[in-house]
């Protein structure tokens, strides 16, 4: 964040001028165990999701009635043919899991981008202009916070009909509150900074100031919120799909897999354990990255 306000160089920079910025960041990155672990796991899941068509041993949609509910490989009746077993329609669980990662990641990323756009716009405007604009936008944020997200999302997707696109739009329109709150408070802190004042003196337009001067300086805080909202969106998608109002069958959404396995969970607990753990690991990795990035952004650099 120190690129625009050149005066507040950190102690390390003053003492060790020879170490370039990216090396310093790299060292902090490697020194932060949570961030490193989170990035590795998240990176791995992203690679697995992208390579799903080549990695998946079977067609995730192919039903095979003679191969129903085969247990995973660590079970005594399991086999390497179906590493994570099969579901009630005989579909390969590992293949469905790999394709399911694509759904979770797509929804998390797209919903966070939409809500990020809405929330950042509102927050920056409120923080920069203050006064009446701020009062109106703060009121909108308060109202949004008072609406029960899960209930509203369920009610709306029941009316519109659940689908991948629908879930993305719905979550994008609902989860912008934290972006707005953070963008507003960080903008308020920078509104009177010298570099904004000098841009004004130089005759820059308000749009230029907001987009080219202000936005780059609050971006790191927004990226942290982005990770949190990605995790939030992924969990909400799983919840909606679990309740039957999100992504529709036969798509291999992890929430839907848990919902389909629910009837069998008493005697074959792995049918809900496998997709549940997958969800948990993905969200955990994203949260670790988010927490790590926040620590790295913190001026005192706690690590």
């Amino acid at each position: 964040m120190s690129d625009a306000t050149g005066s507040n160089l950190s102690k390390e920079q003053l003492l060790l001028p020879a170490v370039p910025e990216w090396r310093r960041m790299m060292n902090r990155f490697l020194g932060h165990r949570g961030l490193l672990m989170g990035s590795i796991i998240l990176g791995l899941i992203v690679v697995l999701a992208i390579l799903a068509p080549w990695l998946a041993p079977h067609d995730p949609y192919l039903q095979n009635i003679s191969q129903r509910m085969i247990p995973p490989v660590w079970h005594e009746k399991g086999s390497w043919e179906h590493v994570f077993g099969t579901d009630k329609l005989g579909r390969d669980y590992l293949s469905r899991l790999l394709y399911g990662a694509r759904i979770s990641l797509t929804i998390g990323l797209s919903a966070a981008l939409i809500s990020g756009l809405i929330g950042t716009t509102l927050g920056v405007l409120a923080g920069y202009f203050g006064g009446r604009v701020d009062a109106v936008i703060s009121y909108i944020i308060t109202t949004r916070l008072a609406m029960p997200v899960v209930l509203v999302a369920l009610a709306m997707s029941a009316l519109v009909g659940g689908s991948l696109q629908m879930v993305i739009i719905l979550l994008g329109l609902l989860l912008w509150d934290r972006f707005a709150v953070v963008a507003r408070s960080t903008t308020q802190q920078l509104r009177d900074a010298e570099f904004i004042a000098s841009a004004k003196v130089l005759g820059a337009s308000t749009t230029y100031i907001l987009v080219r001067e202000l936005l780059p300086n609050i971006l790191s805080a927004l990226i942290v919120v982005m990770t949190l909202e990605m995790a939030h969106a992924i969990l909400l998608e799983a919840t909606l799909s679990f309740l039957g109002l999100g992504v529709q069958p036969p798509m291999p959404s992890w929430g839907l897999m848990i919902s389909e396995g629910k009837a069998y969970m008493f005697f074959k607990p792995w049918v809900i354990a496998i997709p549940g753990i997958a969800l948990m690991v993905l969200v955990l990795a994203i949260n670790l990255v988010g927490d790590g990035l926040r620590d790295m952004n913190a001026p005192e650099g706690r690590n």
């Binding site: 009121y139 109202t143 008072a146 209930l151 009316l159 919840t239 309740l243 969970m265 607990p269």
Partner: protein
């Protein structure tokens, strides 16, 4: 202080009205309610009849004010599906959800605050790491999946507790754990950072240099200040939990407000959906209002805002 309370109350009231407008509009704009109620096999004439019967042929503004006029008198009309008034259904279900929410919050607080305090005192030791791990896992677990896992372990395999229903207090244990673990991490983390901040402050150094023993310093001087924001958060979390009860209650088939909302959604029972959304929102608004007032009472600097 009175001015502050009055101003906040005014905002709270207008937010409640706005929420009612927005949720009303969202439901009416998301699709044709008459078609949803009539079902997929109905004829155009049947849809038209329903439109007239339920007053859906009138302009939306008229429908809204008609509904609002009833709502302020606590009359939300009749349920389309259940043979009861909406208010009757809600007053029957609300105590269940409030009990669940209170239990879950109590559980979360009882675990979060001591754990946060210990983690702060023993910063960077294995206890601190363990506390953070518990919190991080709680934030990453889908609540419905955790609920199902609890059922598999404690209701089916160990047979300690019932899997669903709400006949006795035992029926509330697993749902309260599932819901409480969802609220716990945020409170634990806030207690921990609050404690860390307070423990490094000047007045704690003074207390220590006066020769007070460590437990007096921690419990009498530090905890009291560190806990203030946690109390406010607890109120907000309770509001969130009422919203989150939709999922937990439907997993445990606990007959509360959340399950009523869910049943109403799946049966296109819109008067009930609207009333449940509004009531949960009003609770959230009241709780955040309460949190604001508590904070302002404890910290006079906040009153000027």
């Amino acid at each position: 202080m009175l001015v502050f309370i009055f101003r906040r109350l005014l905002v709270a009231f207008s937010v409640a009205i706005t929420v009612s407008v927005v949720s009303f509009m969202l439901l009416h704009l998301s699709g044709d309610l008459a078609i949803s109620i009539a079902g997929p096999e109905s004829t155009a004439a049947q849809v038209e009849q329903i439109r007239i019967d339920f007053g859906l042929d009138k302009p939306m503004v008229y429908q809204y004010f008609d509904w609002l006029w009833g709502a302020v008198q606590l009359d939300f009309g009749r349920s389309y599906y259940f043979q009861d008034t909406v208010m009757g259904l809600i007053s029957e279900r609300l105590p269940v959800t409030l009990t669940l929410g209170a239990l879950a919050l109590a559980l979360a607080t009882v675990i979060a605050i001591p754990l946060g305090v210990i983690a702060a005192i023993k910063q960077d030791t294995w206890i601190d790491r363990l506390a953070l791990t518990i919190a991080v896992i709680g934030q990453a677990m889908p609540s419905f999946w955790f609920a199902l896992t609890l059922i598999v372990i404690f209701a089916v395999n160990l047979q300690w507790l019932p899997a669903g229903g709400n006949e006795s207090w035992q029926h509330f244990v697993l749902p309260a754990i599932a819901l409480g673990y969802y609220a716990m991490p945020a409170m634990m983390r806030l207690t921990r950072t609050g404690m860390l901040e307070v423990l490094n402050s000047d007045y704690i150094r003074t207390a220590r240099s006066k020769g007070l023993n460590e437990s007096t310093v921690i419990f009498k001087h530090a905890l009291r200040n560190a806990v203030i924001p946690v109390v406010a958060l607890a109120a907000v979390e309770l509001g969130f939990m009422l919203g989150g009860s939709v999922v937990i209650e439907s997993v445990f088939s606990l007959k509360g407000l959340g399950q009523l909302g869910w049943d109403a959604i799946t049966r296109n029972d819109y008067p009930v959906v609207q009333a449940v959304v509004l009531i949960i929102a009003v609770f959230y608004i009241l709780l955040t209002f309460l949190a604001d007032v508590i904070n302002a009472m404890l910290d006079p600097r906040l009153r000027v805002r």
